[in-house]
């Protein structure tokens, strides 16, 4: 990832990429690849203003190389910019038992995917000098890391991703309420969850956040099998959180199931759109660059 010509990790198959190293390394590769992708993007990036120069490092965007200094002093420096606003962001991560599941051994569990996505997101924000915090929850709030803008803060966030979780519930509304109290001025809240929970409390919590001026991005994590029920034989299907069991022959209900899931997604999208939150569904087989790009493009579109 040190070379500008290296393949972009944000476009790798998530499971294959995750197998290459620890979460910190993977997250860095993702972010490096993502930034390199932005270099080729017609968009100009976030709203920032020049602050100072620093020595060029491999991987730095060539757009920000100060060519005048290069020509005059043969010294490679890049221009550093400062945000117009000091953004405070919070990543709200669902770590309930339903997230700790995958429909195929060749894919990451929803938790593993979400953790790597959260790490990459945090790193990306920190590199933009945003302050980033983390809230992990299941049936209760498991981890709360207040937002900080220091790069060393990222290691704390990454370390917290391995904390205990997988509880038998998913209290996203509590977690979002905690975030509302934690972010004292308008900021960015990214909810990463499989949204296997009741809609109304979550909608209320998001509405509260929006009322406080926060930008809210909801990344709905789905395993492909959850989305289309494309495999599996006749069996009793058991909810790992509630232990509710349903005997099902997938071939018989597949179409109905897909319609139900589509309706649920539409309902979530409608509810979040009404309150002004961005919403995107992410399946665990898509490269990490996709949800990152959706998260930030959603943010750009926010009012």
């Amino acid at each position: 990832m040190d070379s500008p010509r290296a393949p972009r990790a944000d476009l790798f198959d998530p499971a294959a990429l995750a197998a290459l190293g620890r979460i910190e390394i993977i997250a860095r590769w993702i972010v490096d690849g993502f930034i390199a992708g932005l270099h080729r993007s017609p968009r100009r990036g976030f709203s920032v203003e020049f602050a100072e120069h620093r020595p060029y490092q491999p991987g730095d965007d060539l757009r920000y190389v100060d060519w005048k200094i290069v020509a005059r002093a043969d010294r490679w420096v890049v221009k550093q910019f400062e945000e117009e606003t000091n953004l405070r962001a919070a990543i709200v991560l669902d770590v309930s038992r339903s997230m700790n599941w995958t429909g195929a051994p060749t894919r990451l569990t929803k938790s593993a995917y979400a953790e790597r996505l959260a790490a990459a997101l945090a790193l990306l924000l920190l590199r933009q000098r945003d302050a980033v915090g983390l809230v992990r929850y299941d049936e209760t709030i498991r981890t709360v890391i207040p937002p900080r803008a220091r790069m060393a803060h990222w290691q704390r966030i990454v370390g917290a991703l391995g904390d205990q979780g997988a509880g038998l519930g998913s209290r996203a509304d509590d977690a979002l309420g905690h975030v509302a109290r934690m972010l004292r001025r308008p900021g960015l809240v990214v909810l990463i969850s499989d949204l296997l929970l009741e809609t109304v409390p979550v909608e209320q919590a998001v509405r509260t956040l929006r009322a406080q001026g926060h930008d809210v991005v909801v990344l709905h994590i789905l395993d492909p099998l959850e989305r289309d029920l494309s495999a599996g034989g006749e069996a009793v299907y058991v909810d790992p959180e509630t232990d509710v069991a349903v005997p099902v022959t997938p071939a018989e209900v597949r179409d109905a199931y897909r319609a139900t899931v589509a309706a649920a997604i539409d309902e979530w999208r409608a509810r979040f759109t009404v309150v002004g939150a961005a919403y995107a569904t992410i399946t665990t087989d898509v490269p990490f660059g996709v949800p990152l790009r959706r998260a930030f493009s959603s943010r750009e579109r926010l009012p």
Binding site: R97, S98, M99, W101, D194, L196, E226, L229, G232, G233, E234, A235, V236, Y237, V238, D239, P240, E241, T242, V244, A245, V246, P247, V248, T249, E252, V253, R254, D255, A256, Y257, A259, T260, V261, A264
Partner: protein, 602 residues
Amino acid sequence: MSFLAPLWLALAAAAAVPLLLHLMRRRSGNRVEFPAVRYLQRAEREHSAKLRLRNLLLMLLRVLALLLIALAAARPITRLSAGGHPPTAVAIVLDNSLSTGAAVDERTVLAALRTQAEAVLASAATDDRLWLVTVDGEVRAGSASDLTDALAEVRPFDGAGSIATAIARAEGLVANAGIPARHIVVLTDGQASAWAASVALRATPVSVYVPAIEPPANRSVADATPRPARWTPRGAITARVATSDSVTWRVALGERTLARGIAGSGEELVVRGAPDERGWVAGTVELEPDELRADDVRHFALWIGPPVGVAVSAAAGPFAAIAVDALVQQDRAVPGADVIVTAADGDARLPAVLLAPNTPARVGAANRTLERLGIPWRFGPARTGRVALRGAGVEGAAVMLRYPLIPQPGAESDTLLVAGTEAWAVAGPRYVLLGSPLIAEATDFPIRAAFVPWLGETIAQRLGSAAGPVLAAAPGEPVMLPRDVDGMESPGGEARAVSGTIAAPARAGVYFLTRGAERAGALVVNPEPSESVLRRLDSEALRARIRAADLAITGDPATVVARAWAADGGRSAAGPLILVALGLLVVEAAVARRGKSGEASA
């Protein structure tokens, strides 16, 4: 309703499979963790009523289809449908004996019988089972179309055949067809010789069709025999012609005419000759063709060659010497050393006709000679008392002193003559052994007229260089071949391997028996002379020969056809059931597809 194959009803148990699957589908023990169960629940809730109805309908359709298939496999017979006849097993016994080859009004009797058979087959349905059985032992099975084609191939047999055997075989066929309705149709000319044996049937209805055709006058060659069977090289052909008027005849050896002339009724023909041919020769006695041509020719076979050189030792006695002299005078033997006739207790060698010793005191010496020569027989203690000698051509001869011939290991049971109940003359490779000396005190056989011919034939057949029998048989008759025969050459020249007991070929003619590359005898196949006597049995006589509970003998073609297909019962319902089952499966497929598309749209 009845079933032709009720065991197939067990297939109905398969109908339980979709039923069980339907009942057990919600009892799967396989548990799978799936976080999005809430969506599954919602999908089930919204579609369960429709799914239940569709699954119930599919289950019912599948169960019903399987039940109908099982029912069809059991081949039900029902009276619900009208028209036609029930599935019937019909065997047509077609009399194609020699006499059916007689032409009347330029059409053979067999052609008339064939037409009747075609009429019966024309009314057959696809569910019927059909056979065609002919008196030559052929059995053909197939559809009405197959058997109609087969009928065209049926030719008159060269013999009487066995119509009783054909009928018994037909009953076995229809009885094992697994169809309750069965019938035997017998198509015959009623020839008396073909109906020599009677047949008893259990319960199968029989219709006998005898066309009202008067048999034509017939001429035939009743007998044709070469005398002796081995010409050296002189001999005679004796023949007897059955004719009511004079008829021209011809005797041929191979393709060459030996003699021809005109014979009257009952006249015996004798044609003498000393032909130039050598070896095994086939010949015929032929008459000018009449309405029944198959019996206008009769075949014979003979061997023509030099006589055997025979020597007689003094120990053999005067009768043997006189007999050999007579053979020499008749050119049936020549003085020579090919074969010796001698007493076994003397200085013997093979080939030989060995006589028992004149006195019991020499039995030991005789047995030592037999042992030295490797002959697996021994003389037993002398027995006295007059016993009749039995065997071909020796009637009236008796034996007063004899030594029972005791077989040793390896002895072949080729007995030529029997004294009382014991073998008196036996033959083996290169030897003929007699159980008595040829003296007046021991037997009067040497003074009988049959002795010289018997001795001549025995020496020629058993000990001559070109030994080999001439066997006679009617077509299809079982024939036991000599042990050393391994092949047979047809009149057309085709060779085939044969051994043991065979059925005589269906076609009349001379079939040479072979041993390796050499001819070793002949099988002469001629029709039974009785088959040439065209005499029909009347209905009563036929009825006496067929003992059946339901028997009709008629000359009316329509009656035979009507009776053949008039069995009580309904029609097979298998076809309609299969059609209904297929219809149900089509509906099942449509319901299954509609259900899926309905879910998709939902």
